[in-house]
Structures are given as C-alpha cells and as structure tokens.
Chain length 122, copies 2
C-alpha cells in the first residue's frame, strides 16, 4: 500500500474529511490527498504553519515534564485539524470540514499512525 493509499483510505472513511497529508517535522510535504477542501485555502501554507505549532507543542510537552506529544486537535471556524506524530521526524495531518466527526477522525488517525510507524522508523 502506497502512502497515497493510506491517505485516501483515511479521508474516505471519515465523513466530512477535507484533506490528509504526511509531513516531515521540518515542514516537508511527503504525500497528500485533497478531497473536499475549500480552494481558497492554501494547504501548503497551512501545513507549514501547523508544523511550526506541532514542533513548539512537542517542545512544550517535554519542557513541562509531560512526556511525548501524542496528538493535537485545533478547531477553527473553517477547518478542524488533527495532527499526530508517526515518529519523532514525521507526522500525519488531517483536515475536517465543519460538522466532521472528530471522534472518528481521532480513532482512524491512530490506526493509520500504527500502520505507518514501521515504514518511517528508519
């Protein structure tokens, strides 16, 4: 199964999904799949900005003795984002349109992370 297949599968399984991506912690886009995302939004810019937020959150978790960061959910007016580290170097990003099922998305993202982890653990 290719990375694109993983992303397509997760997006198709979750009602209200807009897009999914695999990113490097340096902001590099490894793979992405857009399904139903408002074309006025810039996924590349969003991915870079949210990579910065994720990096900062990982640092905050470790600075405050909370251990590793497992997951982040950021809900805004227009989209809700779920971010989940695959390893310390790569992470999954999922964007949901308003009304999308956040609970289901968290569950599916965890499953996909577990499936991808061995492939990124180099």
């Amino acid at each position: 199964m290719s990375f694109k297949d993983n992303l397509t599968e997760i997006v198709d399984r979750i009602e209200g999904s807009a897009a999914a991506a695999i990113l490097g912690i340096d902001g590099l886009l490894i793979e992405r799949y857009l399904k139903d995302m408002d074309p006025s939004l810039d996924l590349e810019l969003i991915a870079i900005e949210f990579t910065n937020l994720l990096r900062r959150s990982m640092r905050t978790a470790s600075d405050t003795e909370l251990g590793d960061l497992r997951e982040m959910v950021i809900a805004t007016d227009r989209l809700t984002f779920l971010l989940r580290p695959i390893t310390t170097e790569y992470f999954l990003l999922l964007a949901l349109n308003p009304g999308g099922n956040v609970g289901r998305a968290r569950f599916e993202l965890r499953k996909t992370q577990l499936a991808l982890e061995p492939e990124f653990a180099i």
Copy 2:
C-alpha cells in the same frame, strides 16, 4: 454560581479529570480547581506554556485565513489538555488523566464556555 463552582462542576462531571482553570490570554490565572493531578507536575508552569501555545495558534488561524480558533486539544503521555477560548481575552483549560473521556470533555467544555461567555464579555 462562582467561577470555582463552574470549574468544580465540569471536573466532577468528566471521568478522569485532573484539573480545570480559567486563564487570561496574558497567562494570568483567574481561577482553578485541582482534583486528581499528579503533584509532581507544575500547573502554573503548564498554564503559562499552554497560554503561549494558544496565543500562537490563534495567530496561526488568523494568518492562514481560517477564522477564529474554537478549541485545542493537546494529548501528551501524562495528561491531555483541552483549551477553549471564552472570549478573545479569556479561556478555559481542562486537564485529563490518561483514559479520560476526551469526547465528553469537549462537550462539557463547550457548555461551560457558553455559560461563562456573558460574564467575561465586558
């Protein structure tokens, strides 16, 4: 109902709750209620660090044309945090121990935000 009552109510309603707080976006602690939080963790430090993250996320949402930030969930090894702005100046923070019900916590936090909003809209 005092702010302390609001926090006590929300913490007591959600299984696995560790603590709840009302904070200013400047990091000022308005009120807090600790129920079952690992005493080795420093809630004051955590609150300051997560206020920084929230501020940065609000800015990211607006910089990327996503509108207002509605909610943040940050899951770490030791605690999961839910942050929800009450107004642009104040927000709610809820900490859950591992195994706590994130879905229920999101629901209760939204209710509490709606109840508190009129009191903070000055």
